[in-house]
């Protein structure tokens, strides 16, 4: 469980002469184990900052954050997070196979042992890249690279996945494919996912709850619970309830933008 209570984040340090820039203010949020939560909001509202604070990559300025009762930094040391950033962040000199194992190879004293070649092949098969195990990233399309990034995160078997707009650089068709691939992988593991996105449709398709951040500094404008059955498949966007959720989120985004 991830618990944020009255969380604030301010960039800059008045003591060193930098102007203090408050980014997040009084964020209260509890994410249950196995829940898929998306964070949506306009640029600069603190979505990625929030993700990085949860992942122990950034310190917060006030309030509290705990991950299964532990500080985020402690959870990070025990490899409890799988991070999927905006770019695939693959190592160009390593094969797809070695990239999938990268996070298991690093800090190998913590977490599980690297996957065997058979396990890597099975995972690559699930993301549709069985034929690409020995290729280097330069030989892959943008969508294929992002599939490798997903496989790398799922290979960790981390209880919490942090995803920062992982599909934002993909074309619309590939992006739609990736949503359902992510759902398929997630259904098998049911790890906790915190997913940052700009896309309302993406947030509704993927999530159990959508957190709308807005204002400056960013505050929670709305927490929308998505009551759409799982597993979700293509065509769910045509559901009346889908459109209602999207409309509610859109309205909250507009009111958040007005508060900036």
């Amino acid at each position: 469980m991830i618990e944020l209570a009255q969380l604030t984040k301010t960039y800059g340090d008045a003591t060193s002469g930098d102007a203090a820039v408050p980014v997040l203010e009084a964020v209260d949020l509890t994410i249950d184990a196995g829940e898929f939560v998306s964070i949506i909001g306009p640029s600069g509202c603190g979505k990625s900052t929030l993700l990085r604070i949860i992942g122990g990559l950034l310190d917060h300025s006030g309030g509290s954050v705990t991950v299964d009762g532990d500080a985020p930094d402690g959870a990070r040391r025990h490899k409890r997070f799988g991070l999927v950033p905006q770019s695939p962040a693959l190592l160009p000199w390593k094969s797809v196979r070695d990239n999938v194992n990268l996070l298991l190879d690093l800090n190998s004293a913590a977490g599980r042992a690297p996957l065997s070649p058979g396990e890597v092949d099975a995972l690559l098969h699930r993301v549709g890249l069985a034929h690409a195990a020995d290729l280097r990233p330069a030989a892959l399309s943008g969508g294929m690279r992002q599939r490798v990034a997903l496989a790398r995160a799922f290979a960790l078997e981390a209880p919490i996945l942090l995803m920062d707009e992982p599909f934002s650089s993909l074309d619309e068709l590939t992006r739609a494919d990736m949503r359902y691939l992510l759902l398929e992988l997630w259904e098998a593991t049911r790890s906790t996912v915190v997913f940052v996105t700009h896309s309302i449709d993406e947030a509704v398709v993927l999530s159990d709850r959508v957190v709308v951040l807005g204002g400056s500094p960013g505050r929670v404008q709305l927490i929308e619970t998505i009551d759409l059955e799982r597993p979700r498949h293509e065509g769910i966007e045509d559901d009346e309830r889908f459109r209602a959720h999207a409309a509610a989120i859109r309205a909250a985004l507009h009111s958040g933008a007005a508060a900036r």
């Binding site: 990085r52 992942g55 122990g56 990559l57 990070r76 040391r77 490899k79 997070f81 799988g82 991070l83 950033p85 905006q86 770019s87 962040a89 190592l91 160009p92 000199w93 990268l102 996070l103 190879d105 690093l106 800090n107 913590a110 977490g111 280097r136 330069a138 960790l156 942090l162």
Partner: protein
């Protein structure tokens, strides 16, 4: 690259050299240039063929000085750039020194180094290292910094150690920039060794041979030394390029 296109590339390079030496030969013969001013390349090659054993120990001397200078510059540059990557204070303190090294005519230091280190090889090695140092440190810093933020965060998200991030991520990422500098700096180190021999008091080496050839009017020796130096420089550069091709098959520069 296919075998046929490789062969085509090789033949084009050979044609370029043939054009240079052929044009040179033709010009000297047709314009009847005095041998003291410019000998024909064929006469220099003939001299080298007959007297090659005379040049070998001198070539070894210069090559040793250049190689030692290059390796010293490479090691210092990588260590220094590593310190700069990890400490902004070190970086801020370092740049004025690097700029000073870059702006100082290294040849002018040769007499000073001669006073400090005597007639041995050390002053030539230092000059060779100074010639090669700035491009190496500059590219090492650029290369070590070229790891993108997302990759760094992915590594930090599993608490990868600083040593792991350095050796497994930063160093491989820096290799293309380092090789780009090395391709230029092997030649610069050779130039440095020769400058050291010209101005730093020497009793051997190809720079010494060129200088004595010039002062004594030994045209064959002067040009023979220049040709051997050019040959060594080319072989060293090709060796770096070959190593680069082998190690950086993944990089766009090798497409």
């Amino acid at each position: 690259m296919s075998g046929a296109s490789r062969l085509r590339g090789f033949l084009t390079s050979v044609a370029g050299l043939a054009l240079l030496f052929g044009g040179w030969e033709l010009y000297v013969r047709l314009a009847d240039v005095r041998r003291l001013i410019l000998p024909t390349p064929s006469s220099v090659f003939a001299h080298l063929g007959a007297e090659w054993s005379f040049y070998v120990p001198h070539a070894v001397t210069t090559l040793t000085e250049a190689a030692a200078g290059f390796v010293a510059a490479l090691v210092i540059a990588v260590v220094w750039a590593t310190a700069m990557v990890h400490s902004s204070a070190v970086e801020k303190a370092s740049w004025p020194v690097v700029v000073l090294v870059q702006s100082t005519p290294v040849a002018a230091l040769a007499p000073v180094l001669l006073i400090w280190f005597g007639f041995g090889p050390l002053n030539k090695i230092i000059i060779a290292a100074l010639f090669a140092f700035v491009p190496l440190v500059s590219n090492a810093l650029t290369g070590l910094r070229s790891l993108d933020r997302d990759t760094l965060e992915v590594a930090r998200s599993v608490d990868a150690s600083t040593a792991e991030i350095f050796w497994r991520l930063r160093v491989p990422q820096a290799l293309p920039a380092l090789f780009a500098a090395a391709r230029i700096c092997v030649g610069l180190a050779l130039v440095g060794a020769v400058v050291g021999e010209l101005y730093g008091g020497a009793s051997g080496g190809l720079g010494y041979l060129a200088r004595t050839g010039q002062t004594r009017g030994f045209v064959d020796q002067l040009w023979g030394s220049i040709f051997v130096l050019a040959g060594i420089g080319s072989v060293l550069t090709l060796a770096v390029v070959g190593l680069e091709r082998r190690l950086l098959v993944w990089h766009a520069s090798q497409d």
